[in-house]
């Protein structure tokens, strides 16, 4: 198998979407049709250049792990294409993919789960050789495995070859996982949080090992992490993911020096600095948590939490109800206004507004006042507060397009603050 690496990116993703079914309880499982889909990855384009370290950074639910698995075709993308070494592998059969697999390997977050408890360390590391016929016989495979174990710092390898994973510490297991990934001499390694489960004093050692091995074997890494500090130290370029979308991507140095997306900025602000003389009490943290990916927010997906949100961000009816609930965390206001609105379950929300079945003039006045005061960012998008029949009050909201990635200062950013540009052509 001669592989004269094609020039250009080693990995290229175009419009990749990956989704998982959400089973609708009993009935769904019976009929076998999911009631909904979670789009874990939703239209991602990116390119990874040979011998660089490309960071995928995001919180839980950002889709970074799924994206990593999609790159390796461990899950099938629902749309888009995945090219490895210039070859479209999106629709290759598992049999055709098999020879390619030795050149693209994963390293997992939990080294304990990544090793078969019923296989010795030696067998685990040698198994890829046997699968790909890279060893002449058992003894050769064992010898190669021992060499690779030695290389990743498991020494003396002879003492470990016949042990089971559970006799190893977390750091040792991760070294074994790395040895198994590298024994077929891959070009691309997708490392998913390779140090997150390790004790902090071990993290540095594993990171150093990964960097050394990269130099030695000329590897390309996709480094998946939630930890911005590690990503900054390790990565050449990064992409920040939020709810399945890339919100900012570019050279790591540029992104860290001057983040252009409010989400990136928030992430950086939230990282606690180990320098007690640099406390940052004025940081503006986003509110709330990552919403449910089954039904992501419209417009910019970050808008409900964004400290800089404004009218075109794509505000929806439910944002307005959430703003009221937040307002009612003051018990006195709650007492005064809750009865006016009535049970929230009766309130109808839609993408474009809210209909309150009761509330009447009092509620309309209140909402008007909140708009004037701009009590919450959602009120910047209110276009009308109208009295309907009876006690009905209707609120209409300005529509907001989903932001497209646009070039800002040497990187791509998807945020309306840099000019309202609508994203188009997204598969839905």
């Amino acid at each position: 198998m001669t592989t004269d690496p094609a020039p250009g990116p080693i990995l290229r993703l175009r419009g990749v979407c990956t989704q998982f079914p959400v089973r609708g309880g009993f009935l769904g499982s019976l009929v076998g049709r999911p009631s909904a889909w979670v789009k874990a990855v939703d239209g991602v384009d990116l390119e990874v250049q040979p011998e660089e370290i490309f960071g995928l950074v995001g919180e839980s639910g950002s889709g970074k792990t799924t994206l990593g698995r999609t790159m390796l075709r461990l899950v099938e993308p629902a749309a888009g294409t995945v090219e490895f070494e210039g070859r479209d592998i999106t629709h290759l059969s598992e049999a055709d993919l098999r020879p390619l697999r030795r050149r693209m390997q994963p390293v997992f977050q939990d080294p304990h789960a990544a090793l078969n408890p019923a296989m010795t360390v030696g067998d685990a590391v040698a198994h890829p050789l046997r699968v790909h016929g890279l060893a002449s016989d058992r003894a050769d495979a064992r010898r190669q495995a021992a060499d690779m174990l030695e290389r990743v710092g498991i020494s003396p390898p002879g003492a470990f070859l016949d042990r089971y994973p559970e006799d190893l510490s977390g750091g040792q297991k991760q070294r074994v996982v790395i040895a198994r990934a590298l024994i077929t001499r891959p070009r691309l390694v997708v490392a998913d949080e390779p140090v997150a489960m390790l004790d902090m004093s071990v993290r540095a050692k594993i990171l150093e090992l990964l960097l050394e091995l990269k130099r030695e074997f000329g590897l390309t890494y996709v480094f998946i992490t939630h930890d911005l500090a590690t990503a900054k130290f390790v990565c050449d370029r990064i992409a920040i993911l939020y709810l399945g979308r890339v919100v900012e991507t570019g050279p790591a140095a540029a992104v860290y020096a001057g983040p252009q997306h409010p989400y990136t900025r928030a992430l950086l602000d939230a990282v606690p600095s180990p320098d007690p003389t640099h406390r940052n009490p004025d940081r503006r943290l986003p509110s709330g948590e990552v919403p449910d990916a089954v039904d992501p927010p419209g417009g910019c997906r970050f808008h409900p939490r964004c400290p800089d949100g404004f009218a075109p961000c794509g505000w929806e009816g439910r944002d307005l109800v959430a703003a009221l609930e937040e307002r009612w965390t003051d018990p006195a206001t709650f007492e005064a206004e809750c009865d006016m609105v009535g049970p929230l379950s009766a309130v109808q929300v839609s993408r474009h507004g809210v209909v309150f079945p009761r509330g009447g003039d009092a509620l309309a006045t209140l909402l008007g006042r909140l708009c004037e005061e701009q009590a919450h960012r959602v009120f910047t998008a209110v276009t009308a507060v109208e009295r309907g029949g009876g006690e009905r009050v209707e609120v209409r909201l300005q529509e907001g397009p989903e932001p497209a990635l646009q070039t800002v200062e040497n990187r791509l950013v998807a945020c309306h603050l840099h000019g309202v540009v609508a994203r188009d052509g997204v598969l839905s």
Partner: protein
């Protein structure tokens, strides 16, 4: 293979001695029965159907130990041969069930899709049907094709167990299929049959021995029931159930032995098998459970596995799931749930001298003196916290840092006196001027929540899933202030929730309706509702995303600034300490090795361990990676002298001999290191006063509720 045996032996030793004894008893009983079955013709004085010349309904005696029947059988010989028959049927029936059920379960679990759905539906239907009736129906239907005998009985019985093997193997396969190591096998390009064979099957078969023993016990009972109903193995074969059914008439006339002995044999053998099965389950299940599989509670007669698990595949993007791991090979020390072994009452030895009241300054909210917490592990006592003293002033925030396993969490729990069973604590804990060690168990309970609160690491599991959030508050408030009415408690709950910015519209929701960050805020609100003087937060943000972590830390920070609450923040994240704490204490292997204000300790760390920890932090400003070589010592047998000496770049001869004392430095910090003056003072404090010996987990039910 050798490593395997070592592993089983280790698991065997970690089981409770009583459980071990019971398992051995079960094994012995089963073994004796097996021997009796194999050597039946030699053991039994008569053949199974030999009756010429024997007395009719003879009483048990020297000639006929168990008496004779009205058909002149020797009861003892019958029950001995019955053993043989029972084993034949059991082995055959479970073999048949296994051969059908295991592959079906494997296929259904691994392929999923419609094959799985159809099979699950069919098997669930069969499983729901009364098993005895199923066997009867099968025997009844088979009667036309297979003459009555061992094969017919075995096949009828196997029908019951096919769904059981199927369910267990299928659910287990489903779980294993989602394991990372299976994905790793796919990623290395292993063909499907290799993945299923070497990676899935090998792990799934581990659950089979457990089901086997359980089913064997059940099969014996079913065979007897079939025999009793006339659908077992017919005469002249010796079958216990059939013999009992023949003996009903004898009972009415007072001839008890014809029915008693066959039944007693069943009772004994089934008991033996069940004990053995439970033992195997105890040993094997930890292997499975460690990977989150677990066969579920194995109940005799029914292998209970979670109802048809429809495993959706949500993205588990697990951020740092707190679970940290050291470079050291795992030891059995400090098992997650310390195995209670026979620890002598006062592990510390000498009877505690009467407490000497030492005045605590009024501005000190929490004062810990010589706290020592000992866990009982299978290999001996482990001193997880070894003579720790710490003061926290009102409104002060103290960070407690160190690698995992250094005793931070144990110290936190020791302060509250909630330790797992088998743990003992000695020393003094004074909270808000009240010495907890002098309080009665009930008063100490009341102090928890009222004076000192604990906030845990995993907010997702800390709320009772069956209780509404509001009810947690009411319960807590009324436990401490019985005269508060429900209305007032509701109002207090609302205030507490509002302070944590939880929408009041959601006070009556259940815990599972909240996100992780909200649950942690609820837990904080719950901890603070009674206004405690001290809050111990044990890694409160480790399982949360970085932004939510920052939100929670801001809340905690605001709280202690607004009130005079003292905060003990246990964390492994030094950045958090730098940002939110006034002082910090560094723990290593059960000792505090350095303590002081955050500023000086971060700018000029003195202890080499603190220096190493600070250097290994990866922050946005990191330009060079650094780590501490080696790993913390085994606390079962800690080294003499300084516990860090082994890993210390500056270690001297004295370090390996003498424990350094925590001595003050010129800037008000304290450090326990021989590099600095004062370290060679005698290690202080041998006067331990019991704080709370497990009476928190083991008391009032009997005294209170059941008498």
């Amino acid at each position: 293979m050798n490593a395997r045996l070592v592993r089983l032996r280790r698991l065997w030793r970690t089981t409770h001695p009583t459980a071990r004894r019971l398992m051995v008893a079960g094994g012995v009983i089963t073994g004796l029965f097996l021997l009796m079955a194999v050597f039946a013709p030699w053991v039994a004085p008569y053949g199974e159907a030999q009756y010429r010349g024997l007395p009719q309904l003879g009483r048990p005696g020297a000639d006929h130990w168990f008496g004779t029947t009205n058909l002149r059988y020797d009861v003892f010989s019958r029950v001995v041969f019955g053993t043989r028959l029972a084993f034949q049927v059991v082995i055959l029936s479970t073999a048949v069930a296994m051969v059908i059920g295991v592959p079906l379960g494997l296929v259904a679990g691994y392929t999923g899709r419609w094959v799985d759905r159809v099979l699950v539906l069919v098997m669930d239907a069969m499983y729901a049907f009364p098993s005895l009736l199923l066997a009867i129906v099968a025997a009844f239907a088979l009667a036309k094709y297979v003459g009555p005998g061992v094969p017919a009985a075995a096949i009828s019985i196997s029908v019951i167990y096919v769904p059981q093997y199927f369910r267990v193997v299928r659910n287990h396969t489903l779980a294993v299929r989602e394991e990372t190591f299976v994905e790793a096998a796919r990623a290395m390009g292993a063909p499907r049959r290799t993945v299923v064979g070497r990676y899935v099957f090998f792990n799934v078969v581990q659950s089979v021995p457990v089901i086997f023993t359980v089913n064997a016990a059940d099969a014996i009972l079913t065979l007897a029931a079939l025999g009793f109903l006339g659908y077992g193995v017919p005469i002249p074969a010796a079958e216990w159930g059939y013999d009992i059914s023949r003996a009903i008439g004898d009972v009415a006339n007072g001839f008890w032995w014809t029915s008693f002995f066959p039944g007693a044999f069943i009772l004994l053998l089934v008991t033996g098998l069940t004990l053995l099965g439970e033992g195997i389950n105890d040993i094997i299940n930890p292997l499975l459970r460690r990977r989150g599989v677990g066969v579920g509670a194995v109940a005799p007669g029914a292998v209970v596995v979670e109802r048809s698990a429809t495993v959706a595949t949500p993205e588990l993007d697990a951020a740092t799931v707190g679970g940290a791991d050291s470079e050291a090979p795992p030891t059995e020390a400090v098992p997650l749930e310390p195995t209670p072994v026979d620890v002598p009452a006062a592990a510390a030895g000498a009877p505690p001298p009467p407490p000497v009241p030492v005045p605590v300054p009024a501005d000190v909210a929490l004062s810990v003196r010589d706290l020592r917490v000992t866990y009982a592990s299978a290999r001996g006592p482990v001193v997880a916290v070894d003579g720790v003293s710490l003061d926290v002033r009102r409104g002060e925030s103290v960070g407690l840092v160190g690698e995992s396993g250094c005793g931070k969490s144990t110290l936190g729990r020791g302060i509250l006196g909630i330790l797992p069973g088998g743990a003992t604590a000695t020393g003094r804990v004074v909270v808000d001027g009240v010495e907890l060690s002098t309080l009665s168990a009930n008063e100490r309970r009341k102090a928890r929540g009222e004076k000192v609160a604990l906030i845990f690491q995993e907010p997702m599991t800390r709320l009772d899933p069956l209780q509404r959030v509001e009810d947690h508050f009411v319960e807590t408030i009324q436990a401490h202030r019985p005269d508060v009415t429900r209305r007032e408690a509701d109002a207090m709950a609302a205030t507490a929730l509002a302070a944590m910015r939880i929408p009041l519209t959601r006070a009556r929701h259940y815990p599972h309706e909240f996100s992780g960050g909200m649950r942690q805020r609820i837990m904080i609100a719950l901890g603070l509702v009674l206004g405690p003087a001290v809050v111990v937060a044990d890694e409160p943000t480790t399982s949360l995303d970085v932004i939510v972590e920052a939100q929670i830390l801001d809340i905690l920070d605001d709280l202690r600034r607004q009130s005079s609450m003292a905060l003990v923040l246990i964390t492994h994240n030094l950045g958090i300490v730098a940002q939110t704490c006034d002082r910090l204490a560094v723990m290593y292997a059960g000792h505090i090795v350095e303590e002081g204000a955050v500023g000086p300790v971060f700018s000029t760390p003195r202890h080499p361990y603190t220096q190493g920890l600070l250097a290994s932090v990866i922050s946005l400003d990191t330009e060079r990676l650094s780590s501490i070589p080696g790993s913390p010592p085994d606390l079962l047998d800690p080294p003499p002298g300084c516990r860090f000496a082994e890993r210390c770049p500056f270690a001297m001869a004295v370090c390996r001999e003498q424990v350094p004392a925590l001595a003050p430095t010129d800037d008000g910090s304290k450090v326990a290191c021989h590099l600095y003056p004062g370290a060679d003072e005698r290690h202080s404090g041998q006067r331990w006063v019991p704080v709370g010996r497990r009476d928190d987990t083991h008391d009032p039910l009997l005294e209170g509720a059941l008498q």
